[in-house]
Every structure is written in structure tokens, then in C-alpha cells.
Amino acid sequence: MNSLHELLEINFFNQIFSFSSSLSSDVFFYDSFRYSFFLLNLFGFDIFIAIDGFSFLFLFLTAILVPVTFLAGWDSIKKDYFLYNFLIFMSIFLLNMVFVVVDILTFFIFFELLMIPLFFLIGKWGSRPESLVASFYFWFYTLFGSFFLLIALILIYIYSGGFLFLNFVYLFNNYDIISSIVCLFLFIGFMVKIPVGPFFHLWLPQAHVEAPTAGSILLAGIILKIGAYGILRFVLPVFGYYLMKYSVILSFFSILSVIIVLWNIESCNDLKKMIAYMSISHMNLALLALFCNLDNFLGLQSFIFFMFSHGIVSVGLFASIGFVYERVGSRDLTRIFSLRNQPIFSGFFLFFFLANMAFPPLSSFVCEMLVYMSIGMGSIFLLLLSMIGFFLNGYLSILIFCKLFLAEGHSLYVPFYDLTNREFTISSFLIVLILLLGLYPNFIFNMIELDVQYTLLEMKYFFSLKI
């Protein structure tokens, strides 16, 4: 492993320094990606593709969630099953492309195309007539973010003549104000996807509540992670310097949304909305950890591991709530009482809620420990504030579980069957993954270690240029 690391490190410095001295043809293909480069000819369009640890991590997360997505929609999808399959497979293909393309223009195109299948998934297969409103929410908020992304793209093209990593570097070296604007606009574009509160997050609870279970799984599992991936890929390596300058303001927004969003949950009755808010607060917590340690191994590593772990845990929660909806026909906590005749289901549900609370041997415990360590290294004050979020999260998780499974009273209608084979397969698959990641997190850390080091090297190099 050492020799590999040294080899790649030498390559990195050669490429950076040869770039700064002259624009040789070898350097032209250098990007912030580290591994395999190749050309994919898709219907006559040449797409330049590269894969490294970050992109592979998110590709693997997508691959994990594909069977879960389809199994979750097995009984609940009644109409136009072929079209539904087409849209989900299409969105998976677009996600694949988003995670592997090299230049930001192609990334932007696939990023935008991804809105189309999701718009129809939420609008057509949603559980209520309001789903159309939710899909428009999703559409317009994403358009709002894309507007900033597009301006950033145009600025990059005007001032550097292309969309590759090399053009980013050129922009960073020559135009100070423009590159700070580009950094900010790129970041706002990705903020909508993460989503960072207290304004950008409003589309997500709506979309989650109205979407079918499979749509929620795709949203919570992968779509939210595109924002994180965009920041890791396009903002951090070159524009990390500007993010560091803004990190105080950005961490203020993150901590604000962690607490405010959790505070909102008290006034909600919809189960899916509650979980959606929890997921927003978790994403912001990870972002806070990143801002507290932008130039550090810990900050990046905790952020990325959190993305992967959250992708699996939140999917488990949304799938479980889908099961509740299939049994009772409602997600309203004021109307559902006591599913206590279902021991296996309640056990699995409790497991996912414990994972949401970061219970020790589970994957979320590892990542939340890293995240709080990172926040604590940044600022003790922020750590104390984020502990409010930690407490609220645990309190609400237990409250929801107790209301659903332990309360005495009459439910609307509770069928007398426990988990079916299909539901058992989904839950146990996710539970095994959560346990494995908790017991052996090095699996993910090995995957991303070199790439994190590279990103830090790049950041430090460009940071030293400005100082």
C-alpha cells in the first residue's frame, strides 16, 4: 500500500509542477480524478469518463440501493409498471453518469436530466393528489440551484475557455474575484441538493411525503449525495481556499439548520416528514464537520463516510415507513396506534432507529463519532450547539418508536401478519450492511484514503499559491 501511495504521490507532484511550468500534452488529461480514464461513445457523443475512490463509493451506494428500490415498490405500484421501471432504471443510469464524468458541463447536463425521471416518479406515482405540487417544488428548487450552477459554468468558460480541472486551476491562478464568485455559485447550486437550511431545504420534506417509497429511497439514498459529491469533486480541490474563507458563515448556516429543522419535527404528524427532517439535519451535521476541518484528513473522511452510512440508514427508515403505510394506509402519527402485534417488524424498526441515533456497534456510530470529533476540533461552541441536535434526534427517534409500537389503544386497522419475505429481505440486507460497516469501517476508509489525501494535497498546493 505504501509503494502505491508513494507512486501516486510522485505522479501528483509531477503533474502539478509540469503544469505550472508548461502546458504539456500529458498534463492535458490530468484531472482531479486519479484512476482509469477512458472515452465512452454513447449514441455518437463522446463522454470522457474517469473513476476514483469518491466516484466508486457513490456508484457502489447506487448499486446497493437498486435492488432495495425495486423490492420496496413491489406491491405499492399498481399502474404503468413498465414506465415506472423505465424511469427508475433511467435515473440510475443518469446517476452513474453523474458520478463518473470528468468535465463540469457534462456533469451539469446529466444532473439536469436527472430531474425529469424524478419529477414523473414523484408526480405520477405519489400517494396523494398533492404529489403534483411536491414534484413542482422539487423542480423549481432544483432549477433555482441550477441557475447558479449555470452562471458559474458560463463564468468558467468565459474566463478560462473550458470545463476541465485545468480550466479551474487557470481561473484560480488568474482571476481572484471571479473565482470566488464561481466558488460561491457552485456551492449554492450544490446546497440545494444537500439541502442546507433554513431556506434551501423546503423542497425535500414535500417531495419525501408525496413520493412513493421507491422515490423516497432514491431521494434519501443517492440524490442528496450528489450535492456532497459535487462539492468534493468540483469545489474542494481548487476552490477550497475560498470555502475556508467563508467557512464561519457556512458553518453558522449548517448549525442553524441542524437545530431549526429538528425543532420543526415537533409540529409534524407525518412520519415521512419527520424522517425527512432528521435526514436534512444529519446531512447538515456532516457538512458542519467538513467546514470545521476543511484542511484536515478527519473532516473530509468523516464527511464522506457519513454520506455512505446515511445513505443506507435513511433508506432503511424510509423503507420501514413504507411498510407501515402498506399495513395501515396512513402515515399520520395521531391516527396510528400500536403495531405491537408485529414483533419482528418492531425489532427491525427499532434497529433502524437506533442506527439513526448512532448506537454503538453500528455504522452511524462510527461516522457520528468522527463528525463530532471534527466539529470539536473546529470549535467547542459549535460542538455544544450540535449536541442539542444530537439530543433532539435521539429523543424524537425514541418518541416515534414508542408512539408506533408501544402505545396502547386502537389503531385504524392493523393486519395480523408480521414482515413478509420481501420486507424481511429488504430489512435484513440493510441491517447486515449497517452492522458490517459499523464493525469494519476500514472497508470504506481504504477505498477513499488515497483520494482524500490527494484532495488535501491539491487544496494545500492551491492554498499556498494564494498565500
Partner: protein, 111 residues
């Protein structure tokens, strides 16, 4: 001795799968485009039902086919994962390569 030969055979077979197929770029491209191929297949069925009025009931095992495709896709990724993370380790273990030879291999892979 027999056990030894059998294990060697199995390792050869496994490594030819993981390293031979999964490490090729063609396979990776195929896996990336696989959802698109399946999606277009389902779209063609949808169009045939919607606009040419084929009988919906003639399509047996529709849901099972989806699950099959999704698990196949997951399996492809597990293969690539083994290649991606444990490329160096697997080569060291199965082929007894030196550091130099591994560097040469990595250079070929990263080009």
C-alpha cells in the same frame, strides 16, 4: 495434494473472473450503461402496450425480471469492487508479484 490442486484451480478461476473480466474497461462501460439498456427495454414494452395494445397479461414474471436485473447489476458492482479496492492485494496473493511488477500493472491500469 489433491486439496492443494483443487484450491489452486479455484483461485485461478476466481482470479480470472475478478481480475480478467472485472478489471477491463469494457466491462466497466457495460455496467455503467447496463441500466440504460434495461430502461430502454422496458420503454419499448411500455410503448408496445400503450400504443399497439398488446395484452398486458402476456408479460409473465414482470416484477421478478426487475429484481433479477437489479441483483445482476449489484453483482457486477461487487465484482468491480473486489478489483477496485483489492487490486494490489489480490495480485500479490494470487500471482506472487514483486513491487516492481505491481507498479507496472498499476501503470497499465491507470492509463
Amino acid at each position: 495434494m489433491f486439496e492443494y490442486i483443487r484450491s489452486e484451480y479455484f483461485i485461478d478461476l476466481w482470479s480470472s473472473w475478478t481480475l480478467g473480466i472485472a478489471s477491463s474497461k469494457e466491462f466497466l462501460v457495460f455496467v455503467l450503461v447496463f441500466p440504460l439498456i434495461v430502461a430502454l427495454g422496458y420503454l419499448s414494452f411500455y410503448i408496445s402496450i400503450k400504443f399497439f395494445s398488446y395484452d398486458y397479461k402476456t408479460f409473465f414474471y414482470l416484477k421478478e425480471s426487475v429484481i433479477f436485473f437489479s441483483f445482476i447489476y449489484f453483482f457486477f458492482f461487487v465484482l468491480i469492487l473486489i478489483d477496485f479496492i483489492y487490486y494490489v492485494e489480490v495480485h500479490k496473493l494470487f500471482f506472487n508479484l514483486s513491487e516492481e511488477e505491481i507498479n507496472i500493472l498499476l501503470n497499465i491500469k491507470n492509463k
